[in-house]
């Protein structure tokens, strides 16, 4: 899960939400990075398709989901899955296979923008980490 914790340099910490259509059978939880395929279909982002939005709610029974657009000054808190492997501030990272965190085991794609923003101590598998898209 990617939790928006701050919008740097902004007077507010919350984004403007957007309501998008999604089949009720396609369950995507809140805090998932997504992108819109051609035709407007929401799909979970991966290392091939960088995230453009994050879900603000779970898929709703009425076939909708709240999302917000990712801007460069947003800071997200997520989980490091796996070994840190010389992780540092500014390290370019990729989403983990389940897109619920980041993982050094997945090679970041050239068009991906996910970088580590954390300024605190050494991270280990399972620790929270702050990233920017």
């Amino acid at each position: 899960m990617f939790k928006l914790i701050k919008i740097v340099g902004s007077g507010v910490n919350v984004p403007e939400p957007v309501k998008a259509a999604i089949p009720a059978s396609n369950y995507i939880p809140a805090g998932t990075p997504i992108f819109f395929e051609s035709g407007g279909l929401i799909t979970t982002a991966d290392d091939e398709n960088p995230a453009t939005h994050i879900t603000l709610s779970d898929t709703q029974p009425d076939g909708s989901i709240m999302v917000f657009e990712i801007t460069p000054n947003m800071l997200f808190e997520t989980v490091l899955e796996g070994d840190p492997n010389n992780l540092g501030i500014g390290s370019k990272v990729a989403l983990s296979c389940d897109s619920e965190g980041i993982s050094r085991a997945v090679a970041p794609s050239p068009q991906g923008r996910l970088t580590v923003h954390d300024v605190s101590i050494t991270k280990f598998d399972g620790d929270k980490i702050i990233v920017k898209f």
Binding site: V14, S57, M66
Partner: protein, 351 residues
Amino acid sequence: MIIYSKSTGLNNSAIGKLETPIKMIIEHESDVLTKRGGICDWLFNVERSNKFGETIIGQNEFDVFQAALEGAGAENDVISETYRKFIEHIQFMKEFTITAEMMEDANYGVAQDAKRRAENFTRAYYKTMNKICEFALANATESTGSFAKAKLDLTTGDGLPLFSASHTYGIDKNADCVQSNLFHGNIFKSGTDGVYSTAAFEEALGELSIKLRNMKDENGEPLGYTADTIILPGNRPAAETIVKKVCGSEGTLGGNYNDINLQFGNWNIIVMPTWQSEDDRVMIMSSEANKNLSGNMFFNRVPLTVSSWVDNHTGNYIWNGRCRFGVGFGTYKHILLAVDGNTAVNGSTAL
């Protein structure tokens, strides 16, 4: 998530969007950490500050007088600063946003009741104070720790972590002027097979108390403070039971003798709920030494202040809570940590 709003679908019951009657709304499940008078007040000296940080300075004092022959002159003595500890305040903040529609439509909770909003900030404030104090003590075998994105300095005036086997004292700071407040040994268990034993703890507690009493001042003299507080992790039931039995029994434990229990009635036992330890360990502290020597310090620079405003662009209501305080250890001589086991932990001294 992020905004307290209707559209996330996470707060439907607050706006009455449910088909069943509400019997109870549980907004807080425990008051353990969220009230005034918790661990912070029990174990730390809480003081105000009106500067960017506070420094605790230690110095030695005059030694004994030296004999002099008739007509001879007096020997010289010297006073000098022997240690210095600076504790800097850290700013802590929290923000909370509710959409205008939620403020208009909510039937209960933070969106409907202003008292709830204030109460939530207060609870979080006390939770921060108590948890940071617990964290500082529980992790003080390290030099630094990270709590809520704050880097905490867990060292004392000699630059070593609060619990260390190599603390220094005095002007000379040579290899002889070293003392330990980090121990390991048969604290809760006895024998080679390591069976829990009240007799073992009764003996260990006596030894640890005397270790603390013999902690040396900056002149190398024993301080003589009486230990009166036992601090335990929250998740070690066998150790906790033994401690309570030893402190609460009039007679000596685990034997056939009719001796009195010297530890009876002398101790306050404090269990730190968020200190979850992987082994049996215990802290012994003298509250008098803690107070006199500025041991565990909590400096309140700015108490909680909450401001609120409306974002005109979105109509969202925003609350922002802010406080500043500093946490640190002015000295190490008021407290010690003992780990059960025969292997050294972080270089601990064998008991």
